[in-house]
């Protein structure tokens, strides 16, 4: 494969994809689900959902299979009395926060997370966060964001959370501004690998966002370039730009090609020469390409259908198609941000049917009609589709697994190869 540094200009004309836009039942998570990985990433933070029993039930159904000695999330459940009058609800919230912080004196950052009920009754959590922030400063910072289903879909919860963190960044004094900020939750191992590559490329002043410790100092300003590691960070990006930071346009670091182009975009922007880049990247790229081979054998020529879930669908489809030879059928996304996705769309097979939004019953009909070799979908659909004879890859795993970067390219391929391998193995046993 050619190195990207030689093809400095974008090689493909962007194709004007006309996505199928549908409305109807959306089989997706709300943004509260983001708490499940965010609470592990930012270890000194606590997430307090202000919502109904449904919200509490959602989070514990998702995360409660792990047994927690001390969970780092909870719900302030709204009851009838709170619905009667808003002033009362604010007092109640203060009481709950006080109770929580007494129980957990180790918390340094508390997120008040909005939900559908809190938004429909227009409980002003941003004001509550300010009010409580004053009470508990400087020991605890208190921020707020919305993870409600009416506002956010699944990974957009992370966007909302990071946007709140960005708005709370310290004022820049230019001298302490970062050159590069990598934005989006990444697995620790991926962050460490990326960190080494940036250092090898000669970058001195860079950081990852969100930081592992909420107290870590990050300063962003007009000098800062930021690089999105995740495709769902619309609001976070907007608030970074309000601080003067500039986005480095790049595809997302999924697969060998995506990762290389991602690094090159940053390197070029920060004045790294093509030769220096090639020297650092070549061994990584070649090793990663080699690691894909066994998976290519399994996946090549197989057709794949994506139900909307996380907004990772387009970069994943691009990777599976270009690097592993899979055939793309429908690629569903909950939202399409054309600007952040421009580099990805330029590389996407022009025959692909994009779908934005969802009518799950109609989409299931299309899926059944097209009979893909693999369906990427949520857990509400996966087992029922398996029972119909489809092979599925449950999509949530893709946000819980280290998949970005060169060293994870093969792991990512394996996530898709595994269900097919499994089916083969089990069916062979049956035939014997």
């Amino acid at each position: 494969m050619n190195s990207v540094s030689q093809e400095v200009t974008v090689d493909t004309q962007p194709i004007n994809f006309q996505p199928l836009k549908e409305r109807g039942q959306r089989e997706v998570f709300c943004g509260l689900t983001g708490i499940i990985w965010l609470h592990r990433k930012i270890q000194d933070a606590f997430f307090l959902v202000v919502g109904s029993r449904t919200c509490a039930h959602l989070i514990q159904s998702a995360a409660g299979v792990m047994i927690f000695a001390e969970p780092r999330f909870a719900t302030a459940i709204i009851d009838d009395r709170d619905l009667a009058g808003l002033a009362d609800a604010n007092d109640e919230l203060d009481k709950v926060v006080k109770q929580l912080l007494e129980r957990r004196p180790d918390i340094k950052l508390l997120f008040l997370v909005g939900s559908c009920p809190s938004e429909v009754i227009k409980l002003d959590l941003s004001r509550a966060a300010q009010r409580l922030g004053k009470t508990f400063a400087p020991k605890v910072r208190i921020l707020n964001y919305s993870g409600s289903g009416i506002e956010t879909t699944f990974t957009q919860g992370e966007d909302a959370c990071l946007a709140a963190l960005v708005q709370d960044l310290p004022k820049s004094a230019e001298s302490d501004e970062l050159d590069l900020l990598v934005v989006g939750c990444l697995a620790d191992v991926v962050e460490d690998q990326f960190s080494r590559i940036f250092k090898d490329l000669g970058l001195k002043s860079f950081a990852f966002f969100p930081p592992r410790e909420s107290t870590q100092k990050i300063v962003v300003g007009p000098k800062t370039k930021y690089l999105l590691a995740q495709p769902f960070l619309t609001d976070t990006a907007r608030f970074l730009e309000n601080l003067g930071a500039q986005r480095v346009a790049a595809p997302f670091p999924l697969g060998v090609e995506g990762t290389e182009k991602w690094f090159w975009a940053a390197a070029k922007e920060l004045g790294v020469s093509a030769d220096a880049f090639e020297k650092v990247i070549a061994p990584q790229r070649d090793r990663a390409n080699k690691s894909l081979e066994p998976h290519r054998e399994i996946l090549k020529g197989k057709s794949i259908f994506f139900f909307p879930d996380s907004q990772l669908e387009i970069p994943l489809a691009r990777y599976l198609n270009r690097e592993l030879g899979m055939k793309l059928m429908e690629v569903g996304v909950p939202y399409l941000h054309r600007q952040h996705m421009a580099e990805e769309l330029a590389m996407l097979d022009p025959k692909t049917q994009l779908a934005e939004g969802q009518n799950v019953e109609n989409q299931l009909d299309r899926c059944r009609e097209q009979q893909p070799d693999m369906v990427v979908c949520g857990l509400g659909l996966a087992n029922p589709l398996e029972a119909e004879g489809f092979t599925t890859k449950w999509s949530i795993e893709l946000v819980f697994t280290p998949i970005q970067g060169f060293n994870q390219a093969a792991d990512l391929a394996e996530l898709f190869a595994r269900p097919l391998t499994r089916k083969n193995k089990l069916m062979m046993v049956e035939a014997a």
Binding site: G24, C30, P117, I150
Partner: protein, 528 residues
């Protein structure tokens, strides 16, 4: 507003979903925001169902709130009917939709669909999952049974001669703790007794079956949490009596047999039925002697908590030190059961309160829900699950009833398993500092390494577990080094209790520091 780390029950519409999903030919149109479809996962993942729950959600978003959400609901109901052609359509709202007040019942009625519509009023900010299930089932039984209600004053006709007695089994739902196997076990038992099962509902029933409920002679109320309201209505309306005994445990099953035979009007030899029970013999065998007076804390839904308390006290020989439930609807029954054991029942849905109580009592075994497993981990106490809420591991592939004689065997195995086995317990009490079997290590039969429990194995959880803080008023008691050392020689599973007793004794005696002698004084004091 209430701080909730874990909730024992979901919202009431999840209860309604448990009824719809348990049944055939029923569809549920739920007015709910985007994201509430998470509830599908409870069924497809936790219970590993092969079908999608028969639920259509309107999944409205913020932008819809500005327009006509009522129209959105009507579209969803119309489309769902056209696609799924159910024999009965349930309609209702989730907590957020309740706030926007679109009246799903009225809207659905206006659609003139050719099937019965069951409108559900489930107050999401007052009631919870089990209430939602019970209310849904009751409303459905009422709607479909209305035509068969006995006129006032009329008695149920006696069963014709030569006809076998028959009953319904009421209460099992989707997402019920071991409902699948309980139904099988109890159906088999009833068949062996010569009683026919008319309808099992809601699990596996369709609306036509619900309309046949009146045909049975009596009802077996297997799970009062979900079936009480419907069973009471059927007693009143069809003249069908209903069972009270819960067939959990050896003795519970015996009582159940006696009761159903009496309701069916048949003779039966309970002793003959129960003589082959393995659970009974296992508990009587000498290997179980060390279980005597193990201190156990019990929490769960009312049905399972009451049954577990009886089994623990009268069949296992444990000492029940705490009993509670989150089922407010059945609080009275739990209070009675607790009083029989000389305890005051704990009626709460507050996880933090349960945690505080367990911390105070320092039991040697916790029988509870998935939520008590979190507490047990924090306090390092062995724990077994006896009731919902449960997670995927408690919807096992193998046959695992809680009810009937086989259920009693399952209880015996699963409750004893987390406890340290007899020989190991003796040896740890005698010798300390063994590099492998050191005190504080997990029971070796649980297969963990010999590292103490503070080092978490496998789960990826790395939280430091803090020792329970036994705060006895403002006074701080100083433990002398000798006494502290001696305390640490007490096996870990009773050490918490010993520490608490000693401190309590010291406070009572007005002591400011605890010496080695105080420790033994306290021991003698509480033994006597």
């Amino acid at each position: 507003m209430k701080l909730t780390l874990w909730t024992y029950e979901g919202p009431p519409h999840v209860g309604a979903m448990r009824i719809a999903t348990a049944m055939e030919k029923v569809h549920y149109v739920l007015h709910a925001p985007q994201g509430d479809t998470y509830a599908d996962l409870l069924f497809t993942m936790i219970e590993r169902m092969k079908k999608r729950p028969p639920v259509t959600y309107t999944t409205f978003q913020a932008r819809d709130l500005g327009s006509d959400t009522a129209e959105l609901f009507k579209d969803a109901a119309r489309t769902a009917y056209a696609r799924f052609k159910p024999d009965l359509l349930m309609v209702g709202a989730s907590c957020t939709a309740e706030l926007i007040q679109d009246d799903p019942g009225g809207l659905a009625a206006a659609l003139d669909l050719p099937v019965p519509i069951l409108p559900l009023e489930l107050p999401a900010y007052q009631k919870k999952e089990n209430w939602g299930a019970a209310e849904t089932f009751y409303q459905m039984v009422r709607l479909l049974g209305q035509a068969f209600v006995l006129p006032p004053g009329q008695q149920r006709p006696a069963r014709a001669a030569g006809v076998k007695p028959s009953c319904n089994i009421l209460g099992p739902t989707a997402l019920g703790f071991r409902h699948r196997d309980d139904v099988e076990e109890i159906s088999r038992l009833l068949r062996e007794l010569g009683i026919e099962v008319n309808v099992v509902a809601p699990l596996g029933a369709n609306p036509a079956d619900i309309a046949r409920l009146h045909e049975a002679d009596f009802n077996v109320n297997l799970y009062p949490e979900t079936a009480n309201t419907a069973a009471t209505w059927m007693t009143r309306s069809f003249g069908q009596p209903s069972t009270k005994a819960i067939p959990i445990g050896f003795k519970g099953t015996q009582a159940f047999i006696t009761e159903v035979c009496q309701l069916a009007g048949i003779e039966c030899d309970v002793q003959k039925f129960s003589q082959s029970s393995k659970a009974r013999w296992y508990a009587l065998s000498v290997d179980s002697t060390y279980l005597t007076n193990k201190r156990v804390f019990i929490f769960g839904d009312a049905t399972h908590a009451i049954a577990a308390a009886k089994v623990a006290a009268h069949e296992m020989g444990f000492k029940v030190v705490g009993l509670g439930t989150y089922s407010r609807e059945l609080a009275r029954e739990v209070r009675e059961a607790a009083a029989e054991l000389g305890l005051e029942a704990m009626i709460t849905d507050d996880y933090l309160e349960v945690e505080a109580k367990i911390t105070e009592l320092q039991p040697e075994l916790i029988l509870g829900t998935q939520m008590e497993r979190h507490i047990a981990k924090r306090l390092q106490i062995p724990c077994a699950v006896i009731s919902s809420p449960v997670h995927v591991q408690d919807f096992p592939a193998r046959y695992s009833p809680q009810m009937g004689f086989e259920g009693a065997c399952v209880l015996f195995d699963s409750w004893v398993h987390p406890l340290m086995m007899g020989l190991e317990e003796h040896l740890i009490g005698m010798f300390r500092g063994d590099f492998e079997f050191h005190e504080g290590a997990m029971p070796s039969h649980l297969g963990h390494s010999s590292a103490p429990m503070k080092v978490e194995v496998g789960s990826g959880e790395a939280e430091q577990i803090t020792a329970p803080n036994l705060n006895l008023g403002s006074q701080t008691l100083a433990w002398e080094t000798d006494a502290e050392k001696e305390l640490n020689k007490i096996p870990f599973f009773v050490r918490g209790k010993a520490r608490r007793n000693t401190e309590k004794y010291a406070v009572e005696q007005g002591l400011l520091s605890i010496t080695l002698e105080t420790l033994y004084d306290a021991k003698a004091h509480f033994k006597s």
